[in-house]
């Protein structure tokens, strides 16, 4: 299977960005963005879809972490 060309790559990234924009608006509610999700899945190789999903999770975690939502529990501070 040949690697995607530049055009295919850019089409895939565009679909991904739209899907992620939809998720941002709908507060991570995947059920409301199904159409964009299927467009995204048709444009990108399967490995890339798995990769981008994991990337999305990581970016969301990073946002929460930098906002300070994860505090060490009291027990760890004393141990």
């Amino acid at each position: 299977m040949a690697a995607p060309s530049m055009k295919e790559r850019q089409a895939c990234w565009g679909a991904r960005d739209e899907y992620w924009k939809c998720l941002d608006e709908k507060a991570e509610d995947a059920s409301q963005c199904e159409q964009l999700r299927s467009a995204f899945e048709s444009r990108c190789p399967q490995q890339w879809i798995k990769y981008f999903d994991k990337r999305r999770d990581y970016l969301k975690f990073k946002e929460k972490f930098e906002a300070g939502q994860f505090q060490p529990s009291k027990t760890t501070a004393q141990s």
């Binding site: 040949a2 690697a3 060309s5 530049m6 790559r9 190789p45 399967q46 490995q47 890339w48």
Partner: protein, 364 residues
């Protein structure tokens, strides 16, 4: 109530007396009436007077048989404790006093710079009103010549001589240090020369099917990136950044050209044709290199690149996890610098420019 008076001891024969030989005129010092002096004449009418029991014989370890200093003459304040030869106080005195005297007492310089006997400075008839110098070397310790004039080198002269001596020492130290640094530099250059030839060599095919090795790039600056063609987003982003750097440096006149190189960490799928398809999207001069699994393993080991193929899915597709860095190689083929994901194209271009300006070849 009157205090008891202590009578002055009258000079007796057991103490040192002023013994002036016949025919000599004693014009000795009036300052030390109780000092012990022995004077004698020399041919040429110079008078030599020696003061017994001088400062040298004071509290520091007296030898047996040496006359004790007279009661009224105590050149140094002495503690009342009995002397112990070899005591620490005496040892310290032995060291410190000469050093202090060297600076503050002009007369002490004569211990270092013994002077020859000089001619008379002042002569009036058969009366001698001065005393000539006496050579101190060979003299018994504890005796000191009594001199009146001149007083010895002035403070400024002493300071000057000490400063010159210090400057000489400093100059010698600086010269030794410079020589050591130069030898270190030579060793380093030699090590670099060896590394330039042997280290980081590779045997790979470029995207046109030609064999390439590291020596082909000697004389050019090289920006190297390791990746693979099936990469989702990181490799294209980094290659875009690399191409922007190369374009920025191309736009500046007077800078040598930079060769961008892309080496695959996925030799199974990235054949020369696949590489050719890939690199054409970025820059006309971007060179793609591939090879067998062993050749790729060798080059990644040389440049300390981590890579690991992930699990395959039903399409037989997989993603290769790898370390992300752009490497800069100098025209000697030596690794010079690396840039991670956090560096922008502008920062990389500035750094490359800086290295170009500072570059000195070790190979000729």
């Amino acid at each position: 109530m009157s205090c008891p008076r202590t009578a002055r001891p009258a000079p007796t024969d057991t103490q040192q007396q002023l013994r002036v030989p016949e025919g000599a005129v004693e014009e000795g010092p009036r300052k030390y009436p109780e000092a012990a002096f022995a004077c004698r004449t020399h041919p040429g009418h110079s008078l030599e007077c020696v003061r017994r029991g001088g400062w040298r014989a004071a509290p520091v370890g007296r030898a047996e048989g040496r006359p004790a200093p007279s009661a009224g003459l105590r050149p140094w304040p002495r503690p009342d404790a009995p002397e112990s030869p070899g005591g620490s106080f005496q040892q310290l005195n032995r060291i410190i006093r000469p050093m202090l005297l060297l600076v503050w007492a002009p007369k002490a310089w004569h211990r270092l710079f013994p002077l020859k006997p000089r001619a008379l400075l002042w002569f009036r008839g058969d009366k001698v009103l001065h005393v000539g110098y006496r050579r101190l070397s060979g003299q018994a310790p504890g005796e000191q010549s009594r001199q009146r004039q001149p007083q010895g080198p002035r403070f400024r002269t002493r300071l000057l001589i000490t400063a010159l001596f210090g400057a000489g020492l400093g100059g010698a130290w600086l010269a030794a240090r410079a020589e050591k640094e130069q030898r270190q530099q030579q060793r380093r250059t030699e090590a670099l020369r060896q590394a330039a030839v042997g280290q980081g060599d590779f045997n790979l095919l470029d995207h046109r099917g030609q064999a390439r090795c590291k020596a082909d790039f000697r004389g050019q600056w090289v920006l190297l990136y390791f990746g693979f063609t099936h990469c989702p987003d990181i490799c294209p982003d980094e290659l875009e950044k690399l191409v922007r750097v190369v374009e920025q440096l191309e736009a500046e006149p007077g800078l040598p050209p930079v060769q961008p190189v892309f080496i695959t960490v996925d030799p199974e799928r990235d054949t020369a044709a696949a590489m050719a398809r890939y690199v054409q999207d970025f820059h006309p001069r971007l060179l793609g290199l591939t090879g067998s699994a062993e050749q790729v393993a060798q080059v990644t080991r040389s440049y300390r690149v981590y890579y690991s193929a992930g699990p395959k899915d039903e399409d037989q597709d997989y993603i290769v996890d790898h370390s992300i860095a752009i490497y800069l190689l100098s025209p000697d083929g030596l690794f010079t610098d690396y840039y991670g994901r956090a560096k922008s194209a502008q920062q990389i271009a500035d750094s490359v420019r800086h290295h170009m300006a500072a570059f000195r070849s070790v190979l000729h």
